[in-house]
Structures are given as structure tokens and as C-alpha cells.
């Protein structure tokens, strides 16, 4: 399916995601204007503060968005009983986007007002204008072109940055981009990227026109219009914000997932099992990036998701890797109970470990079956590893040490891109996931970890203790899934979504029916 066919077939969804996207941009930029413009004005009155405040805004811009999300999710900041920062969803995405939008707005307000011809300012003061009158009647109107230029830059940045909001279940066109990256589907990536780019261009054009109309010489501010406009913007931002931030107050079981196919399928399996066995309403908060699912669970934003024992041990608990599967399970169970009040339930049955993969034809030609077998080819081979594999304590460094490997080149890239890079011959070996559906689809071969280097990554549902206490039927429902999913089954389900483009919801439903796990099945 090409891009146009896709967009035509998913018109309603594209429109919906674009609206979500616009909403994120509009509310966050609106908040940034309400904070940034007055702050910029204040700085012109107290120039000594300009260095620290502009410095802070500058630093905010350089903080990676996932790091910022990780910092914001556990926060609980209330304003008039409405939670304005913290948790997953639009609220936190908006807070992050607003922080990113602040710098250009503060800076342009500050420089715009400072750039007003000193002779004009002196004339105004000499005529007996108060500081307020000078500001509102002369300085702000004359700086308006520059201020709008700052808002324009902030808006265009926000349209681009808002794609990352999908990482915390905040919606927007980023959903397509993340899903496309995950499924190695360029059409899907473009279906998110092209409308986002068009939104950015449209915003740039419209605000450019506004900027131009305020351009040289400025425009006289009609006091009543200015106040009315300001009140309208503030009222719109506040009502929309209260509306979104307040929604979802009713109690449901919230099931989360990380942002890759297997996790979404497992999220569906858990959600559907709970729905059919307990009748409790379930809210799905899938596609959480990085370790945000963990943050969300601890913060009480979700009640359960599927975690991997090895990930919990090294990436979350920061403990040294262990190779014994039972020992790892025992360890994380105890630590989670003590530190997070989170319980590890029955393992699902499969181990999603790192899979060292090479092309099928290489495996056949060179007769390779084990990782230790590639040592003599490694100096001529290039590798492509995900950021995760490179940075984890049980990842790249220990791996090359354990097998005594030296590669010709090590390239760090997004995990989902490494499969394609391997199949296309751009790299010769990658570290994928053992359950990845693409392994079969692209004819890749997994090498045996003959030195038992990689720790176990058993998939296990984790849940908040307080939720399990409140809904005892939940524990029974999740326990029923214990030991029901094999690696082959997981790989097949992943392929059904990644390769056959079927919906995770349908694949999960079919699995539960076949396994007779569905209620009444």
C-alpha cells in the first residue's frame, strides 16, 4: 500500500491524530505564551535576571524528551485540585512541549522590547508616560513582530516535538511514526511524518502572515481588543486543559505496554483476559517509550504491564546481570515488593533475550550456528546495534568480552532499523530480540549463545500491590496466563502483526481463543 492509498483508507484516523497533534501544539504553545511573554517583559525590567532565566530555558531545550518525560511522570503538581503535571498522557506531554517552547518566546519578547529605538522610549518617558503606559502603548506593540516571530518558531518546533508525545500515550501523529518504526513500515512512518510536516508548514505560513502584519513599525494595540484576545487565549487554554486533565478520573484497571509490537500484543492479551474473566473495565495505555511503563506503574498511572526479568534486574534495579533464570525471578520479585510495592506474577512462559542475528545465506555459506563461530569473521564485519544493547550492562561490552570479538565497525542505530540494515547488507550482524517476527520474515538466523552470556528475559506480568488487594479476581485472571506462551508462539504473533499487518487486538483475541483462555472458550 502506498502512502496515498493508506491516507485515503485511514482518512478518519489521520484526521483524528492530526487533531490530537494540533491540540497538543496549541495548548502547549498557548501555555508557553502565557508564561513566556510576561516573563520576557519582566526580564526587560530586571535585566540582571535575564542570564539565569534565559540560561534555564536554554538548558530545557537541550534535555532529551524521553528524559524529560521520565522526570515529569512521577511529579504530582496540583493547581486548584487539578493535576497539571505528572502521570502519562496529554498532560505531561503538554508540560514538556511548553517547556521546550519557552525559550524562543522569552528570548524574542526580551530582545524585541530591548530592540525598540531608545529615542522612542525616551520621547515616551519625556512626555510623562508611566512605565506601564510606555510598555503597553509603545514597547509591546513595537516588539509585537519580533514576539510573534518567537511564537512562530516555538510553534513549528512544537509540531515536530509533539510526535514524541506518542511515547507516553498522549496521541498525535507520532503514533504512526512509532508504529511504523516498530513494524519496519515506511508507509506508516510517512503517514505520520508527512501530515506533521504539512502541519508545521501551515503553522509557519499562518504565523508568518501574522508576523508580517505586525512587521515593520508595529501596529497600534487597541486596548480592549488586546485584553479581549488575551482573555480569550487564557480561557481557551484553561478550559481545554481542565477538560483533558480532569478526564479519566473514574476508576478502571489501566494496562500499559512498552512501545514495541510484542508488548502491545501482550498488553492486549492481558487486557482481554481481565475483561473476559473479571468484567472489570480496562483502560489501555500502550506504547510507552523507554522505561516509562515502569515509571507509570510506580506512579499509579497504570496498574499492570508485562516486564522482562533481565530488564528489571539490570536496567531498572541497576543490579549486576545474573544468568540463572530462577535466581533472577526470585531477586526481582523481592526487590520490587520492597522498593516499589509491585508484585511479579506467574511468568508467561517465553524468554525474550537478545538474539545475535546474521543473514541466512551467510549462515549457510559459512556454516555458522554459534556466536563463538563468528570470531574469525568479526574483524571484517560491521555491526548495527540498538541504543539499548550498546548501553546496557548485559549488552555490547560484556558480549564482545565474553566472546573475544572485534568488529570492523560498530554502528549505533534504532533497534527497529537494524533488521532492515542487516537484510540490505549494510551491516553483517545485529542484536535483535529472540521473539521478533522479522527474524522469520527476513530469513535471518539466530546464533546460539553457546557461552551462556545473555541473562534471561522471562516475560512476566507485574502489577501494583494495592490494585491486586482491591481486586483479588485480578490475580486469578493474570495467573491463568502463566506458562501459556512459548517463544515460537510469541514469534508467530509478532509476525502476524509486523509481517501480516494484522491488528494486535485481533491477534491477541485469536490466541486466547485457540488456547481456550477466553471466557467460556
Amino acid at each position: 500500500m502506498n502512502l496515498w492509498q493508506f491516507l485515503a483508507a485511514h482518512r478518519a484516523e489521520v484526521a483524528q491524530l492530526s487533531l490530537e497533534h494540533l491540540f497538543l501544539v496549541a495548548v502547549s504553545t498557548g501555555i508557553a505564551i502565557l508564561i513566556g511573554v510576561p516573563l520576557g517583559i519582566a526580564l526587560t525590567r530586571r535585566p540582571a535576571l535575564s542570564k539565569p532565566i534565559l540560561g534555564f530555558a536554554n538548558i530545557m531545550q537541550t534535555v532529551p524528551s524521553l528524559a524529560l518525560f521520565g522526570f515529569l511522570i512521577p511529579l504530582n503538581i496540583y493547581l486548584f485540585h487539578v493535576r497539571i503535571i505528572g502521570g502519562i498522557g496529554a498532560r505531561t506531554a503538554i508540560a514538556a512541549l511548553a517547556l521546550y517552547a519557552l525559550l524562543p518566546i522569552i528570548r524574542n519578547t526580551f530582545t524585541g522590547i530591548n530592540g525598540v529605538d531608545p529615542a522612542i522610549r525616551e520621547a515616551g518617558r519625556g512626555l510623562g508616560m508611566t512605565d506601564r503606559q510606555l510598555l503597553l502603548q509603545v514597547e509591546v506593540p513595537l516588539a509585537l513582530g519580533v514576539i510573534v516571530a518567537g511564537i512562530r518558531v516555538a510553534t513549528v518546533i512544537a509540531v515536530g516535538t509533539a510526535t514524541i508525545a506518542a511515547a507516553i500515550d498522549a496521541g498525535g501523529l507520532g503514533r504512526y511514526i512509532f508504529r511504523g518504526l516498530r513494524m519496519n513500515d515506511n508507509t506508516l512512518i510517512l503517514a505520520g511524518a508527512v501530515p506533521a510536516a504539512l502541519l508545521a508548514l501551515a503553522a509557519d505560513f499562518l504565523l508568518g502572515a501574522v508576523e508580517h502584519s505586525f512587521g515593520r513599525g508595529g501596529r497600534r494595540l487597541n486596548r480592549r481588543h488586546a485584553v479581549a484576545a488575551l482573555v480569550a487565549v487564557a480561557a481557551a487554554v484553561v478550559t481545554i486543559a481542565v477538560f483533558t486533565f480532569h478526564s479519566g478520573a473514574s476508576r478502571r484497571i489501566a494496562i500499559g505496554s512498552k512501545d514495541f509490537t510484542e508488548q502491545v500484543i501482550l498488553g492486549e492479551i492481558i487486557a482481554q483476559t481481565i475483561e473476559s474473566r473479571t468484567g472489570l473495565p480496562v483502560e489501555r495505555r500502550f506504547d510507552l517509550g523507554g522505561n516509562l511503563a515502569h515509571d507509570a506503574l510506580v506512579a499509579g498511572e497504570i496498574d499492570s504491564y508485562v516486564e522482562y526479568t533481565g530488564t528489571a534486574l539490570t536496567a531498572i534495579l541497576k543490579l549486576p546481570p545474573l544468568s540463572d533464570a530462577r535466581e533472577v525471578y526470585r531477586r526481582v520479585k523481592a526487590e520490587y515488593a520492597a522498593r516499589f510495592h509491585v508484585e511479579w506474577l506467574e511468568p508467561l512462559g517465553f524468554n525474550n533475550t537478545f538474539a545475535i542475528l546474521i543473514r541466512g545465506q551467510d549462515a549457510k555459506k559459512l556454516g555458522l550456528k554459534t556466536i563463538s563461530g563468528i570470531a574469525k569473521y568479526a574483524p571484517r564485519w560491521r555491526t548495527g546495534f540498538g541504543q539499548d544493547f550498546i548501553s546496557r550492562p548485559d549488552g555490547y561490552e560484556g558480549f564482545v568480552r565474553a566472546y573475544g570479538l572485534k568488529f570492523a565497525a560498530v554502528r549505533e542505530m534504532d533497534l527497529s532499523l537494524t533488521y532492515r540494515a542487516l537484510a540490505d547488507g549494510q551491516v553483517d550482524v545485529i542484536a535483535g530480540n529472540s521473539t521478533d517476527g522479522l527474524i522469520g520474515r527476513l530469513g535471518l538466523v539466530q546464533l546460539d549463545d553457546d557461552r551462556r552470556y545473555f541473562p534471561p528475559y522471562d516475560a512476566v506480568p507485574v502489577a501494583r500491590e494495592d490494585t491486586l488487594k482491591r481486586y483479588p479476581e485480578l490475580r486469578a485472571a493474570l495467573a491463568a496466563l502463566g506458562g501459556t506462551i512459548s517463544v515460537e508462539e510469541m514469534r508467530r504473533m509478532n509476525f502476524a502483526v509486523d509481517g501480516e499487518k494484522r491488528a494486535p487486538r485481533d491477534v491477541a483475541e485469536e490466541f486466547l481463543r485457540q488456547k481456550k483462555l477466553a471466557a467460556g472458550g
Binding site: 525616551e122 518617558r125 512626555l127 510623562g128 508616560m129 508595529g218 501596529r219
Partner: protein, 257 residues
């Protein structure tokens, strides 16, 4: 030269002004300006003329001595009230580019809360007074006017609320010589009709002679000579002679065959 308190509009009593770094821009200034008088402050760039003006409308406060306006030290005046009683015209004019000519002239009356009709009539009256046809100019923006026309608007704006005192800081300095000559002549007749107290800063000695009741010549922040134009021509002080020779030089060039 002897004046009683009643007829003195502005009085400098040992006034001085020092920058925070200690540099003195003005030292030990003693002079008074009588009601209806035009005192011209003459001097080279950096001699302290503009500083002297800014001490009158409290754009600056003296660091030594005091400045009295209507018998009250400026530091006891509310700065905003004081400035609205004092018209202020600067060389760069400083018209508000986003206001029409009418709106520019109406700034102070509007701040003072006049009603629309009164403002409207006053603007027309003032534009006529400075030789600009209201029908042609009222709705234009400053960028659509020539330098001379803009400076006329600047004078009209300063006069709008009929302030008893006018401060003019090289108002015609940026104009071409012919326009400057015309506008100086018109200003002189305006000055006679209005009878305002004026402090007028210039470095153009011919302008000083044309407009001044008295001239104060400043050098390095101090008064070198204070007197009528006739006293000026009689002085032997080297700085005075230097300025007067500019006047003579211009005449000689004009008289040369």
C-alpha cells in the same frame, strides 16, 4: 539679571550630575530661567547641555545641589506630573511609528483623559500652528513624512497639553540647512505668540543667536559664559571666541566675492 521668585520658572542651585563610575557630566551649575524666557544652552558635544535638560524633567536626578521647577525641587515632584507640565522635543523626534500623526500629537491629552472631541480639535489647532494641513497629514504615519514635517509633529506633540515649559534638545539638528532655516524662523514666531518658558539646546551658534533671550555656553560640564547675545560678541573668553568665529566665518564666506 535680577529676578524675584515669582517670575523664575526654573532654577539650578549648585546642581551637578555624576555617573555611577564617578565621572562628572555637570558641575556646580547655578542659573535661573525666567518665565517666558528662552535660554539657549550652547556648547560642543559632551559639554553637558543634554544632561542639563534632563535634570529639569527628572529624566535624571542631580547628584549634587538641586533643580527647582516653579520653586519646588524636582526630587519632590512626582516625575510623571512634572513631565506632563513640560513639553519635550528631541533631535531624533521619537514619534511613535505605530501611531498616526493625529494619535502622536494626542498622546499627552489622552494620558490626561481629555474627551475625544476636545482632543480632536486640539490636534487640528496644533497641526495648523506648526504649518501642517490637518486634512492631509492627520491620518498619515510618521514614515510617510519628511524629516522637517516629522520635527513639526514633534513640536506639536510637545505643545499638545499646553505645558508652561518646553525643553528642546537640538530639535532641528538633523535637518538639511534650508529646511532648518525655514523651521527656525517659524519657530521664532511661534515662540513669540506662545510666550512659553523654553530651554533650548544647540551647538549651532547662529541658531542660538536667532532664538535666545540669553545664552549659556557650557564647556566640560561648567558654564563659561551666561549672557545676552550682545554680551557674547563682546567676550574675550577663548571658548566664546571660538564659537563666535563660526558665526563670523559663515558671514565672511557669504560676503566673499
Amino acid at each position: 539679571m535680577i529676578m524675584n521668585g515669582q517670575s523664575t520658572a526654573i532654577e539650578f542651585q549648585g546642581a551637578g550630575f555624576r555617573l555611577p563610575d564617578g565621572r562628572a557630566l555637570l558641575t556646580e551649575l547655578n542659573l535661573s530661567i525666567a518665565r517666558g524666557e528662552t535660554l539657549v544652552l550652547l556648547g560642543r558635544s559632551g559639554s553637558g547641555k543634554t544632561t542639563t535638560l534632563k535634570l529639569i524633567n527628572r529624566l535624571l536626578d542631580p547628584t549634587e545641589g538641586g533643580v527647582l521647577v516653579d520653586g519646588k525641587p524636582t526630587t519632590e515632584w512626582d516625575a510623571i506630573r512634572l513631565r506632563r507640565r513640560i513639553g519635550y522635543v528631541i533631535q531624533e523626534v521619537g514619534l511613535f511609528p505605530h501611531f498616526t500623526i493625529e494619535e502622536n500629537v494626542a498622546v499627552v491629552p489622552r494620558l490626561e483623559g481629555w474627551d475625544d472631541e476636545r482632543i480632536h480639535n486640539r490636534v487640528r489647532e496644533l497641526l495648523d500652528l506648526v504649518g501642517l494641513d490637518p486634512a492631509r497629514f492627520a491620518a498619515r504615519y510618521p514614515r510617510e513624512l519628511s524629516g522637517g514635517q516629522r520635527q513639526r509633529v514633534g513640536v506639536a506633540r510637545a505643545l499638545a497639553a499646553d505645558p508652561p515649559i518646553m525643553l528642546l534638545d537640538e530639535p532641528f539638528g538633523a535637518l538639511d540647512p534650508i529646511t532648518r532655516r525655514e523651521i527656525q524662523e517659524e519657530f521664532r514666531s511661534l515662540q513669540r505668540r506662545l510666550g512659553k518658558t523654553m530651554a533650548f539646546v544647540t551647538h549651532d551658534v547662529a541658531e542660538a543667536f536667532l532664538l535666545a533671550s540669553r545664552i549659556a555656553l557650557l564647556k566640560d560640564g561648567r558654564v563659561v559664559l551666561l549672557g545676552r547675545p550682545a554680551d557674547f560678541l563682546a567676550s574675550r573668553d577663548p571658548e566664546v571666541v571660538a564659537f563666535v568665529s563660526c558665526l563670523r566665518g559663515a558671514d565672511e564666506v557669504a560676503a566673499a566675492p
